[in-house]
Symmetry: C2
């Protein structure tokens, strides 16, 4: 039997497309342009050097790095040495990193110099390796690993911790087998459709859930890969897209919003882009329309760290769907943009269902909403050391998202289960309220959280950032909102702030908001 | 762990694209138009009925059928019942079928009425079921199978015998796991790229190596499937493509040649076709050019029954290949056509090498030729009952093809190993000689085989079919050939015949030609 090993991808690159490029930038300037032949040679040397350092099969090797070519080399070299690449999130605090690296029992950590202070509380057995000169010295001296240790497809290749907006971060181990199938799925026409003709730009951090799996897919098919380097800024991203003729890039909506503004102002050439993929949170209609009207096709990909992470994609796969989104009229375009705000269709290989509180399956009518469960070959069936076993039921992952599925098989996330507001026995969706708030021309950003209420148990509270120049008050926004949502949804208060708190992966930190406003009694 | 089972594909169809169509034709007329919802309902009933008939998990259920919707139902129903679909080749003789069905120990066979005489020598334990009324009665009565038997991904789902141009036919068993991965590969952008937006027409027989795997891929992604019915003729195929707006179809070059002639004469609308895939033997430049100049994109897919069968595809995946085939000039187009005559690039997931007689790997320089070895998740690692174990070496399949691989990773099959002519210690490629003969405007078809020779051991002999109206003689053709090949390649004789003998899958039957002309002494 052929074991499904992701280390085959670099070997394929070496044999089948040795001269396709990998390009590294830093601060908007090109710092290295090499190819898969050289990449694979360095990967083999690094794997050999890791073995000589004492890294044994199954050991965790941490990385605390920006998106640069050495981080991409670690993606291939650590699994080649039979070890597990543990990508550490550089947005976390030193304390959180100490907890995670300790929990994973990382034996060695490779870190960027500027990130070293984050490792103050960590003392891995084999030490901390600087990703600069020390790393280069290793690669120089490393005897190329020619015969990798025997591995099973069930062995872990990568380990990543969830951002942990509730409780302690939890580890998700990715076996070779799951990542292999995930990579095949990433290259399907009906999904992200990564192909050898692509030039991908890694805006999504390599430390974040396998960077959506794109590094593996790109390596397998021989796409050109471009790395933006440390602290990538919006002008740098724009410059790289134009210079390298990038065809595929993914990012969170907040970055895409700033990028659109930049591209509009500077007239950057984005004509090479065939897919701008948004993920992490639901993009606004305005954002989708803005890009599409500049000729850049926008998709939404939805997933989770626990799903490797790709689960859905918004490509329309049924040409016979005779519905308002078909055709070329302006109305049809608007309908397509609206649909891109939904989470799209499930990738082949996965299965899903939505269930009520008793676990009974709900109809896929686009109306009934319940917790989304997912299972499949690249869905975790437990956390790394068995944390939170209640998240896994009969082989299904409980996503913690509340969603609807329409009869055509399109997902729409209604809310995170924990962000729903239970008021007088009824549920209010924080996302739906946020959307209604964002329809107000004075509102730039909005977050709605539950605050305790004596009579109704919980009530919504809105925290908003106003658009530049706006001087609207909370009362004014609240009264305007009155016409757009049911009366009983109206928040107890609309608080204006300068900025919303963010988690380490850029999402609104609702946990912090809940704590902060827990004492609010509201006006009702 | 999620078992990789192909029965998930019909379940996905039922849940995700119940209303995409499956259309059945017979004699060029539509006989049934239904959808995946109805298809899956019938599949479940059929699976239940098979169980009630006594079919147990692991049993072989034979099919001896044309390409109709009931054959497509068997593709899903037999594996759903936990059994193995054994597709019998209807081009074989009753004697050959008796051997194969006996060797596979088929317990039940479903056969078309007009093919029943081919089963004269077969007596399966559970009998022979007519695919007409008897089949319909079963589906009517069948209790839908709701809980399939427990299966492992290593269990066989399909069984198919090679056409056996050398020795007895050999069985190739396809486990669920291999077909699952093969299906994912079939849907990749860089390969056949089957997508939900496709309408596929099954010209390739469903009895032939999983019909290239297209039925599974189409079902998984929700492509519309069209079945041409019994004895499909070229005018019927043309009519169906036009009426159903077919986007993808595969066939052998001989059918594609007749189809091109028909389309030219009748002006059939083929504008819907995004991929005409040729396989089974190397297409002529003239054939490729003819289709491409009508705006129909032509690809070659190379594979083998032992490889499920897809192995390569001629899509150009490297946009930076600065070579003569890039660009839009007439010269570039010709270069692309010429390249489509090669076998293309290896699909992700597979590995290959070419080796010399001692098994040593040869360089991939486009010049060195040796036997092609292949391995990977959907490559057989043995025959069904362990036949011909020498075809499998250290996990590699010996393809029996002699090939070159160029530095860009493109395959070119030089010859079948057994068709090479060993003359005076040097090898002559029968395919190269055939190609040179086909460049003669008087030659429509050509086959070159080895005949024994006292002095040179073997010498080539050519058998040709002349173009309509030509009266060229063997001597004349031979003298013209003199300018196009090395002198020592020149055949001992060029024999003209009315038609070349064909094997059951439409290839030139060289074994028969060798026997027929074994006594030829030649003129040299």
């Amino acid at each position: 039997m052929t074991e499904l090993l992701i280390t085959d991808f670099a070997e394929r690159a070496r044999r089948h497309h040795p001269h396709r490029e990998i390009v590294a930038y830093a601060r908007g300037e090109e710092v290295l342009r090499y190819d898969y032949a050289r990449y694979c040679e360095r990967v083999a040397r690094l794997a050999g050097a890791l073995q000589r350092l004492g890294v044994r099969p199954g050991d965790r090797v941490g990385s605390l790095c920006w998106n640069h070519h050495r981080h991409l080399e670690l993606y291939a070299a650590v699994p080649l040495a039979g070890a597990v690449l543990h990508t550490l999130n550089l947005r976390l605090s030193a304390e959180e990193i100490a907890y995670i690296a300790g929990h994973a029992d990382d034996r060695l950590i490779v870190a960027d110099t500027d990130l070293m202070p984050l490792l103050d509380g960590v003392d891995p057995e084999l030490g901390v390796l600087d990703s600069g000169e020390a790393y280069e010295a290793l690669v120089e001296q490393g005897p190329p690993l020619t015969t990798p240790p025997e591995r099973s497809e069930h062995d872990l290749a990568v380990l990543c911790y969830t951002s942990g907006t509730t409780g302690r971060p939890k580890g998700v181990g990715y076996p070779h087998r799951g990542l292999y199938l995930h990579t095949f799925a990433a290259c399907m026409v009906d999904g992200h459709a990564v192909s050898g003709r692509d030039t991908v730009l890694h805006v999504v951090p390599l430390f974040h859930a396998n960077a959506w799996g794109v590094p593996f897919a790109a390596t397998m098919v021989g796409a050109k890969q471009v790395l933006p380097g440390p602290h990538p800024t919006v002008p740098e991203i724009a410059r790289i897209v134009e210079r390298e003729r990038v065809t595929y890039l993914g990012m969170v909506p907040t970055v895409a919003t700033d990028l659109l503004e930049h591209v509009r102002t500077h007239g950057t050439d984005f004509s090479s882009v065939r897919a701008l993929v948004l993920g992490g949170s639901t993009p606004s209609l305005e954002l989708i329309r803005g890009w599409e009207e500049r000729g850049v096709p926008v998709f939404q990909g939805w997933g989770m760290t626990e799903i490797s992470p790709m689960a859905t994609f918004t490509r329309e796969t049924d040409p016979t769907a005779t519905d308002p989104a078909a055709g070329d009229s302006p109305g049809a375009a608007e309908e397509r943009y609206r649909r891109t705000r939904g989470q799209g269709r499930l990738l082949p290989g996965l299965q899903w269902r939505i269930v009520d509180d008793d676990g009974a399956e709900l109809p896929r009518d686009g109306v009934a909403s319940g917790e989304l469960l997912i299972r499949g070959p690249w869905v975790a069936s437990s956390y790394y050391l068995g944390e939170a076993p209640d998240r896994f039921v009969d082989g299904w992952l409980r996503t913690g998202d509340v969603a609807t599925i329409d009869p055509a098989g399109r997902l729409r996330i209604v809310d995170r289960a924990k962000d729903l507001i239970k008021s007088g026995g009824e549920w209010i969706s924080s996302m739906a309220l946020e959307e209604a708030l964002l329809a107000d021309p004075d509102v730039a950003e909005a977050a709605v959280v539950a605050v305790p209420h004596q009579r109704w148990q919980e009530r919504p509270l809105a925290v908003v950032v106003l658009r530049q120049g706006s001087r609207a008050g909370g009362e004014q926004l609240l009264s305007r909102l009155g016409g757009r949502v049911p009366r009983w949804w109206l928040p107890t208060d609309v608080v204006t702030v300068d900025a919303l708190p963010r988690t380490s992966v850029g999402k609104t930190d609702k946990r912090r908001l809940r704590t902060q406003y827990a004492g609010t009694t509201g006006k009702e």
